[in-house]
């Protein structure tokens, strides 16, 4: 048997290597550094490595190359999404590192494995231990997310999917407050996520059976030369799509989203909601635009249907919610539908619109969940909508910033959401899916109603007597909110430089 030595372009996968290397370093810190010093080490390693990786992404600007024997594709969309993910992760890590909000020291439990309400839990609480393992977990997840949109074959895509999912399952179960809810969220996310991974893997096997290769460019060639049994191919595509749509929480694969977003510690929810969606849509775009573009007449109706159901049901469910985190979860489902509208356009405008929407949505999400961590009463975060009434009287600045994020979600002009929605709807219209655009615009109108209802509640309702207090944001949360708010504003008021960047980047290499 003959082997050839693989050629690995380390420089082109440097951003991923930096983040994963820092994660391994973080594990060593947990093992060998005294407990009191770990926090400082972990924060420096996490933020430092993310910044380094961002510099590496910027230096790769303009690269368009299939690296690592076809497994990793470094091109415009990859680099744009990796840069977006790294900037979002800075916000996420800042929120995770925040220690000035919870009276217990951080948002994370000391011993996640202890039973809620048990003697062991009380001992762990009394010991005053503050766990720092969440930092390497975040970096591992981020490493997988960086690889996910860059994957050039289905096996790499699956490995990236697992690397990003497994740490997130754990992180959802780490909440210090409302432990049972958090553990339930982690278990649900794990079980359903494992199912969806199995769907993805089985679909990959069927596609391999059709094309004789797992590489996306090979699948593309096999489809264009009509290589084998179409039924096997279509079944494979359907199963792989289920696995990917689960990760972006599109209806009907969304059931985990509200429970997990509500149960997970809010900093983790912010990181997960923003970054998972960006990474998973990156993978969807590459799979459908590169691997399966010759099959578009088969998958476009399917994805259009999913987009319509996702938008409509997402906004209708969001209307009925009374909990802030659940409402944001359903709104994130609806946004998955809006982004899918851009994906099904299958043209350059659709790709550009989706990329812009992902960046805009990610920063708004980080900011919105960061604000949720600030509104607290004696039991922790006050997430019931009624507790938010009259919030503007207590803290006009926090209420106004939250209003900005909600307006961006709603797609009001001068925020990033407007430009993003306009871009995906215009792309869908130009590709002839006017029905999709009509549903999208109607859903946006319904969505605007419940976003603005919260604004009205905050600004024009009487505050409750025993309502929650708004904590003065400590430095790290302030930094994360400032980052999110400024990007939301800049993308809304002066989007042209980012749009130009996307225009030059939006070309897949294969």
């Amino acid at each position: 048997m003959n082997f050839h030595v693989p050629v690995i372009q380390y420089a082109e996968v440097l951003p991923i290597l930096i983040v994963l290397g820092a994660a391994v370093l973080g594990v060593l810190v947990e093992a060998f550094i005294p407990r009191s010093l770990r926090y400082v080490f972990q924060v420096v390693i996490s933020l430092g490595s993310i910044l380094l990786a961002f510099v590496a992404v910027v230096r790769l600007h303009g690269t368009s190359h299939v690296a690592v024997e076809g497994s990793v594709v470094v091109d415009g969309p990859t680099l744009f999404l990796q840069g977006t993910l790294l900037l979002l992760a800075i916000g996420g890590v800042l929120l995770i590192a925040e220690r000035g909000l919870d009276t217990g020291g951080s948002a994370f439990t000391a011993h996640a494995a202890t039973l809620p309400g048990s003697e062991a839990e009380r001992t762990a609480l009394a010991s005053g231990i503050i766990q720092t393992e969440v930092f390497p977990l975040t970096l591992f997840a981020l490493g997988g997310m960086l690889l996910f949109p860059a994957a050039g074959d289905l096996v790499t895509m699956f490995v990236a999917l697992e690397v990003l999912s497994l740490p997130l399952y754990l992180m959802s179960g780490l909440a210090r407050r409302r432990r049972l809810l958090s553990q339930e969220a982690a278990l649900k996310y794990f079980l359903l996520g494992a199912f969806s991974s199995a769907f993805f893997l089985y679909g990959s096997a069927l596609i391999y059976g059709y094309a004789g290769t797992v590489s996306l460019s090979g699948i593309r060639e096999a489809i264009s030369s009509n290589a084998g049994n179409d039924l096997v191919l279509l079944m494979g595509v359907a199963l792989v799509t289920v696995g990917l749509l689960f990760k972006v929480s599109a209806v009907p694969f969304h059931a985990w989203t509200p429970d997990v977003y509500q149960g997970a510690p809010t900093p983790v929810t912010a990181f997960m909601a923003a970054c998972t969606k960006v990474a998973a849509f990156g993978a969807i775009l590459r799979l459908f635009y590169v691997g399966l573009s010759g099959l578009r007449w088969d998958w476009r109706p399917m994805l259009s249907g999913v987009a319509i159901v996702t938008m409509v049901l997402g906004v209708i469910w969001a209307l009925t919610q009374t909990d802030m985190k659940r409402m944001l979860a359903y709104s994130s489902i609806a946004h998955a539908g809006f982004i899918l509208t851009g994906v099904v356009a299958v043209n350059k405008a659709g790709l550009e619109g989706s990329l812009f929407y992902l960046a805009a949505y990610g920063f708004t999400t980080i900011g919105a969940f960061a604000i949720v961590t600030l509104v607290r009463d004696s039991t922790g975060e006050a997430t019931h909508l009624s507790q938010w009434s009259g919030l503007a009287r207590r803290s006009p600045l926090v209420a106004s910033t939250f209003a900005l994020f909600l307006l961006a979600y709603a797609g009001i002009p001068l925020t990033s959401g407007f430009v993003a929605k306009f871009a995906v709807f215009a792309a869908a219209y130009s590709s002839g899916s006017s029905a999709l655009v009509i549903v999208g615009v109607l859903s946006s109108a319904i969505a605007a109603f419940f976003y603005i209802r919260v604004i009205v509640l905050m600004f024009f309702a009487e505050p409750k007597e025993d309502g929650p207090t708004v904590v003065v944001p400590p430095i790290m949360t302030t930094a994360a909110i400032t980052l999110a708010a400024s990007v939301t504003l800049v993308l809304g008021v002066m989007p042209s430089s980012v749009l130009d960047l996307i225009k030059s980047a939006a070309r897949f290499t294969f």
């Binding site: 030595v5 060593l28 947990e30 093992a31």
Partner: protein, 119 residues
């Protein structure tokens, strides 16, 4: 298609053997029922009528199992490399050293955090 006939034959032989042994044991074996016969074999919890301690088992079993899987997977990658390391040369050596070092980080973590202490 002819290529697959031996596979089908093997499958049929396998099924046939399983059915034959189960049937033969049921027809010819002695039937003595007692308590020990109904217990789980050698390990595992008694699920009925009520699991002892609500079915909780000490987490250390789980840790040992996880550690076993980590090293098992390491061996899975070491074997093919050992067979063909002369083809892969220095590249293969360096990649395997990086891989083993990463696995060792997991081991060091478990060791330092008390995962190897049974009590």
């Amino acid at each position: 298609m002819n290529l697959y006939i031996p596979i089908l034959a093997i499958g049929a032989v396998g099924f046939g053997f399983a059915i034959f042994s189960v049937l033969a044991a049921a027809l010819t074996g002695p039937k003595r029922y007692n308590r020990a016969r109904l217990e789980a074999y050698e390990c595992g919890i008694e699920p009925t009528p009520q699991a002892v301690g609500g079915g909780h088992i000490p987490i250390k079993y789980f840790l040992t199992a996880m550690l076993f899987i980590v090293f098992d997977i390491e061996i899975v990658f070491l074997y093919p490399w050992a067979v063909s390391f002369d083809h892969l040369g220095l590249f293969g050596l360096f990649e395997m050293v990086i891989f083993i070092a990463t696995v060792f980080v997991a081991y060091a973590y478990v060791w330092r955090r008390g995962g190897l202490e049974w009590d």
